[in-house]
Amino acid sequence: MLAAKNLHYCIQKRPIVDEVSLEVNPGEILSILGPNGAGKSTLFKILSGEIPCKRGFVSYNHTGLGELKVHDLAKIRAVLPQHSQVNFPFSAKEVISLGLHQVKVSKHEQILQEVMEITRVMQFSDKLYQHLSGGEKQRVQLARVLCQIWERQPYPRYLLLDEPTSSLDLAQQHAVLKILKQLTQRNIGVVIILHELNLAAQYSDRIALLKDGTLQKWGNVKEIMDEELLERVFEHPVQLIPYPCAAGCIVASGLQNQAYQNLNQA
C-alpha cells in the first residue's frame, strides 16, 4: 500500500499541499484531479519522494520514504514526470532502455520487446528522440517507465504518472489508460494526474479531487460524479449526462443557466 498521511508543504508560508491523506492499494488506479494550481504536481512529487514534505508521512508497503534507499525505492515505484528533456542525441530505443537501469541484463531484450509492442513505439524506435513529435515523446517516456517495473515481482509496486496523456490524441489517451489498467493486474498500484474527467471516470477505481492544496473529496468514481461537487471544485458549471459506461454518466461542461433555458425552449 502506498499511504500518505497529513502531508503538508508550504512555499513562503503559503500552503501548496495542506493536510492531505491518501491511500493507494496495489491493483487499483487512483486519479488525482483538480483545477490548475491546486497542488497536484507538488503532491505528486512528495509521493514520489522527489521533494521531502515539511510535515506528514509517506510510506510504501509500510516502509517510510526516509528509510528506503534510492535504489530500493526505484524497485517498488516508477515515476513518469510531466516533462523530460533529453539534451543528447539518443534514439527512442536508447531512451526506453534507460528504464532498464536496475534490471538484470539477461531480461533486457525481452522486456524491451514487450514494452515497445504494448506502447506501439516500434515504428519510430530508431529515430532520434529529439526529432519525435510531442505525443511520440510521451509514449517513449511511458515505455521507459514501464521498463522499470515490467518484470513481475512478488511484492506490490506503484506507478506514478503526471499527466501522461497531455499531448496524446483520443485513441492514444485510451490506449495509455488501457495499458495502465492491464498493469494493475501485475499487483501494481497506479497514481495518475489527469485533466480529462471522463477519462478518469472511465478507468479509475478511485478519484481524488484537489483544490487549493486540500483534498476536497476522495472516493470511488460514483461518489465523485456529483454535479455540485465538481462545479465547486472546478468553478465551472458541470452537467452529468447518463451514459452506459463504468461511471454511469459522462461529464459535460454545463451551459450557463440562461443559455440552457433558451435551448430547452427552442
Partner: protein
C-alpha cells in the same frame, strides 16, 4: 532494425578497437616525425629493441631522441588528452549540457591559479623533485575542485543547471581567477613570466619519464572511476529527477564525478598547462560518429582525446621546425570554430 543488446556491446568493442588502431598509428607517426626525423623502420626497430627483441638497424642518437624525448611526451599526451576527453564527457553528461568544457566552467583556471601560486610561492621556481611531481598536481586539483564546485553551486537551481547561468558563472569565476593569477604574477620574476606565457597556452616540452608515473596514477585512477559511472550518466541524461526515480543516488554520483574530473584536469594543467577545447570537442565528435550512449561516449572520448592531443602536438612540433608552437594554440584554432558551429546548431535545434 533490431540491434540486440549483446551485439551492441560487441559493436562498442569494434568501435573502440578502431579508435585504438588510429591512436597507435598517430603515436607511431609522432614518434618518427619532428625536427629530428626518424624513418619508420628504425622507429619500429627501436621500439622492438626496448621491448627485449634485439634488432640493431638504428643509431644510438635516434634511440635517445625517441626513448628519452618523444616517447614520454607521447605517453603524457595520451594520458592528458584522454583524461581531458573523458573529463569533458563526464562533465557534459553530469551538467546535462553539451556546452560544458573544463576551460569554460572554470576548472582549468582554478587549477592554473593554484598551480601558479604553488610555483611562485612554494616551490620557488625549481622544476624537479618529488614535491613538485606530486604536490603541484594535487594543489592544482584542489583549485580546480573549488572552482567547479563554485560554478556548480552558482548555476544549479533546484537540481537543474541552466546553460546561460552556467556560462555566466564560468565567466565570472574565470575572470576572478585571471585577476588573481595576474596578482600572483606580480611577484614573479622575468623568467617565470616567460615560462608562464608558454604554460598558459599549453607546453608539452616538459614531459619526462619522471612525471609519467604520477600522471598515470593521478589521471588513470579517476578515469577508471568515471568509466564505472556509465549507467548513472546515461540515467542522468534524462534529468536529475528522472535519474533519482530510476534509482541513481544523484548527489553522490555528482560529487564523485566532479572530484574525478577536477583531479584529471588539475593534474593535466599542472603538468602541461592550460589546453582548451579538447574536453569540449571530443565528446561531441564521439556522439556524432557513434552514439550518445555513455557506454561508448566515455571510453571513446578517452581514445579520441588521446588521438587529437597527439595529433595536435605533432602539428605543433612540425609547423615551425625547429621551434615549437604552443599546443594550446593548435587546439584553440581548431576548437573555437567548432564551438561557434555548436552554438549555431544549438540555436537552430532549440527554435
Amino acid at each position: 532494425m533490431n540491434l540486440s543488446l549483446k551485439t551492441y556491446s560487441n559493436q562498442n568493442a569494434i568501435r573502440l578497437s578502431l579508435l585504438g588502431t588510429v591512436l597507435m598509428v598517430v603515436c607511431i607517426a609522432s614518434l618518427g616525425l619532428g625536427a629530428y626525423s626518424i624513418p619508420l623502420d628504425n622507429t619500429i626497430a627501436i621500439l622492438l629493441n626496448s621491448l627485449g627483441v634485439s634488432v640493431d638497424n638504428f643509431e644510438a642518437s635516434q634511440a635517445n631522441v625517441l626513448l628519452q624525448i618523444r616517447l614520454p611526451r607521447i605517453l603524457l599526451n595520451l594520458l592528458i588528452g584522454g583524461g581531458l576527453g573523458i573529463a569533458g564527457a563526464a562533465l557534459q553528461g553530469m551538467f546535462r549540457n553539451p556546452l560544458v568544457e573544463p576551460g569554460l566552467i572554470g576548472v582549468s583556471s582554478g587549477s592554473a591559479l593554484f598551480a601558479i601560486i604553488f610555483i611562485v610561492f612554494v616551490s620557488g621556481g625549481t622544476s624537479a623533485g618529488f614535491l613538485n611531481n606530486l604536490g603541484l598536481p594535487l594543489f592544482a586539483f584542489i583549485g580546480g575542485l573549488i572552482h567547479v564546485a563554485a560554478v556548480f553551486k552558482l548555476s544549479t537551481n533546484r537540481g537543474t543547471s541552466d546553460t546561460a547561468t552556467l556560462i555566466l558563472a564560468g565567466i565570472a569565476i574565470n575572470a576572478f581567477a585571471g585577476a588573481l593569477i595576474g596578482l600572483v604574477l606580480f611577484f614573479a620574476d622575468d623568467s617565470a613570466l616567460r615560462s608562464f606565457t608558454f604554460w598558459s597556452l599549453g607546453d608539452m616540452s616538459g614531459a619526462t619519464w619522471q612525471k609519467l608515473p604520477f600522471a598515470l596514477i593521478l589521471i588513470g585512477l579517476p578515469t577508471f572511476l568515471i568509466l564505472q559511472k556509465t549507467k548513472e550518466l546515461n540515467a542522468l541524461s534524462l534529468g536529475e529527477q528522472e535519474a533519482f526515480h530510476m534509482g541513481v543516488p544523484v548527489n553522490q554520483v555528482k560529487i564523485q564525478l566532479l572530484v574525478c574530473a577536477a583531479l584529471i584536469v588539475g593534474v593535466g594543467v599542472s603538468m602541461v598547462g592550460v589546453i582548451g577545447f579538447v574536453g569540449l570537442v571530443v565528446p561531441h565528435l564521439v556522439r556524432l560518429i557513434f552514439s550518445a550512449d555513455h557506454r561508448i561516449v566515455l571510453p571513446g572520448s578517452f581514445f579520441l582525446g588521446a588521438i587529437l592531443l597527439n595529433a595536435a602536438d605533432l602539428i605543433a612540433r612540425l609547423i615551425v621546425i625547429p621551434a615549437e608552437m604552443p599546443i594550446g594554440v593548435i587546439t584553440a584554432l581548431c576548437g573555437a570554430p567548432f564551438f561557434i558551429w555548436l552554438i549555431f546548431n544549438l540555436k537552430k535545434s532549440s527554435s
